[in-house]
């Protein structure tokens, strides 16, 4: 209990610092949203299902899922394929049409790498997707990035197909 308390104080210190730090905007919004979204850090499928019951019209999360919330990468690469660029362009259009939406881009890896290297590789992938969105006109302040390395596979199994589905950057509405 003491631990949590102290960590909380420490985290507030971090967020305060981030508000003054350049190029890391969006953390202030993240501070208020962090507690409510902390359990949905996995796939957007779980995020959209929790919001789908409220209205007949598509929620922003459903809309994002339908246009494609994720892009995939080759082994040990953060290069965007033509298909990935098309998906991200659609995401940029979606964000232009939903100006109040802010997102977190999660970078992920397959399990065939060491943990720390994969944390860095996941960060590269999230950054590659974010940079493409920004180049398409999305305000960088609306996009936060996070790397989960190989910690949160979306597709279960130790086979090449599962790996190809897990090497991904996923845009999640905050």
């Amino acid at each position: 209990m003491t631990k949590r308390f102290l960590v909380l104080i420490a985290a507030i210190g971090l967020l305060a610092a981030c508000e003054t730090a350049p190029k890391d905007a969006g953390d202030a919004a993240g501070a208020s949203g962090a507690s409510s979204t902390s359990s949905t850090s996995d796939t957007s499928a779980s995020a959209s299902s929790s919001e789908s019951a409220s209205s007949a019209a598509a929620t922003p999360a459903e809309e994002l899922a339908s246009i494609g919330d994720r892009v995939f990468f080759e082994y040990d690469s953060s290069a965007l394929s033509a298909e990935a660029k098309a998906t991200l362009s659609a995401q940029a259009a979606f964000l232009a049409g939903n100006p109040s939406v802010t997102i977190t881009v999660e970078g992920h890896c397959d399990e065939r790498g060491t943990r720390e290297y994969n944390l860095a590789l996941g960060e590269r992938r999230a950054t590659a997707a974010r940079d493409y969105l920004v180049a398409q006109g999305v305000n960088a302040a609306r996009i936060k990035t996070i790397s989960y390395g190989k910690e949160r596979p979306s597709f279960i199994g130790s086979n090449p197909y599962a790996y190809s589905k897990n090497r991904r950057a996923v845009s999640v509405i905050r």
């Binding site: 960590v7 420490a10 902390s38 399990e111 943990r115 720390e116 944390l119 860095a120 950054t127």
Partner: protein, 447 residues
């Protein structure tokens, strides 16, 4: 709780140093992967059950003998003789053993001792290690502990037996911090846990509410640096093990991870990932002043200091794929040292300073190995579908790491367990943990 042993080394102590040179043939990098096998003959030793006030083996005495026996057996340097318990030990260690009873076992060493209740719930523990061949006393000692301290004093005796016989530092009175894993692969719950090096005295340090990874011990033991996803902001935290309190380490504009302490405990080295770049930074822990040590467009991570603090080994993809590099502690003079086939990762400098442990990936398999600090003399010790995260026992003779099995499509499998192997005898053992386990870190010798 008094748990100190004062070794009483007798004047005619003979330092019996068995030759423990690596008789392992070094081999050139070939297409065929060779896992180095054990070549050192362990010393046969009889560990008598410790006697109680009746002069016969007691419950405490049997437990002490079992703990010491397990420690020495796992070191690869000793082979405890199981039938030793069939021979009645001397009523007290002060009586010289009848060696004619023990020599038929083929043992070279004999440990006898007593554990007697001395009042106020305390237990007085006495031991003597004998050389069976020369019939001379090698080392003796005594200490007084409560019942709760019996496991620890047993490990301390095992350390003294190990040290007096091999001339090397013991590592049995140490602890392991690691990541306990539970739940399905896509929502794995990870908690920091700590235990004695033999798996006993297990406790959890975090509650699983946030993802935690890669704990590393400070040389001062009471502190652990680790990665915590608290509030979805992955950063390096410092935890005081005795109080359980954690604090965020510094303020950085991105994700900090891959922490490791310098051997003097004054500095911490780690990676900062921001805007697609991952570089290595060092922090002075007393002033929190930060220095950037690498600056490149590559991924520079998994840094590890040499024991003298002058060099840093790290992992980088600056040459195209993951390899191991060594640089001066100020970031200058970067040299690649891994030139074998495949990808090399997670360099960890031995506390002895002479070799570096690493993870290697080659043809769909993972390996744990060691190499000289210039990259020569590579020896592979363990292999598997996924083997990662070597950590050194403080004497630099034993490595711990984890192995994970493949995950099946139905979500079964994906089981990870801790293993350790001594780099002399190559005696691989699985650690018993309550659940799946990964990312082990060995403590220094306890104060």
């Amino acid at each position: 709780m008094m748990m100190t042993i004062f070794p009483r080394i007798l004047p005619f102590l003979i330092a019996v140093l068995i030759n423990i040179g690596l008789i392992v043939p070094s081999y050139a990098q070939t297409e065929r992967i060779t896992i180095t096998e054990g070549t050192v003959e362990p010393t046969p030793i009889a560990i008598a059950d410790f006697t109680d006030q009746t002069g016969r083996p007691g419950a405490f005495g049997r437990m002490i003998a079992e703990i010491i026996s397990n420690d020495l057996d796992g070191s690869g340097m000793f082979r405890p003789e199981a039938s030793a318990s069939l021979i009645p030990p001397p009523r007290t260690p002060s009586i010289k053993p009848d060696f004619s009873e023990w020599t038929p076992l083929g043992v070279k060493a004999l440990l006898v001792g007593s554990a007697q209740e001395s009042g106020n719930g305390m237990i007085e523990v006495v031991f003597i290690l004998w050389d069976v061949v020369t019939e001379r006393e090698i080392i003796a000692g005594e200490g007084e502990v409560s019942e709760a301290g019996l496991r620890r004093i047993s490990h301390q005796i095992a350390d003294l037996v190990f040290e007096s016989w091999t001339g090397d530092t013991g590592y049995f009175d140490t602890r392991i911090v690691y990541v306990d894993e539970s739940g399905p692969p896509e929502r794995r719950i990870k908690r920091l846990a700590i235990m004695d090096q033999d798996g006993h005295n297990h406790t959890y340090l975090t509650d699983g509410s946030s993802l935690v990874l890669t704990p590393r011990f400070s040389p001062q033991v009471q502190e652990i640096a680790y990665l915590d996803y608290f509030n979805d902001n992955p950063n390096v935290y410092l935890m005081n093990v005795s109080t359980g309190n954690s604090e965020l380490l510094g303020t950085f504009p991105g994700m900090t991870f891959a922490p490791r302490f310098s051997f003097d405990g004054k500095k911490l080295i780690m990676s900062l990932a921001k805007d697609g770049l991952t570089d290595i930074y060092e922090m002075d822990l007393s002033t929190q002043q930060v220095n950037q040590l690498t600056k490149s467009s590559s991924i520079d991570t998994s840094p590890s200091y040499s024991p003298d603090g002058r060099k840093i080994a790290f992992n980088s993809d600056r040459g195209g794929s993951q390899q191991i590099y060594v640089m001066n502690a100020n970031g200058k003079n970067v040299k690649r040292i891994s030139y074998g086939k495949g990808r090399y990762a997670t360099p960890v400098w031995s506390p002895r300073g002479d070799i570096i442990a690493f993870t290697k990936m080659y043809k769909g398999e993972f390996f744990i190995g060691v190499m000289n600090t210039d990259g020569s003399g590579e020896r592979l010790l363990a292999r598997g579908f996924l083997v990662e995260a070597p950590t050194w026992a403080p004497n630099g003779r034993v490595l711990m790491y984890f192995k994970q099995s493949p995950t099946n499509d139905d979500g079964s499998g994906g089981e990870s367990h801790l293993y350790r192997i001594d780099i002399t005898g190559f005696n691989e053992r699985r650690m018993v943990t309550p659940s799946f386990a990964s990312d082990p870190a060995w403590s220094p010798s306890l104060p």
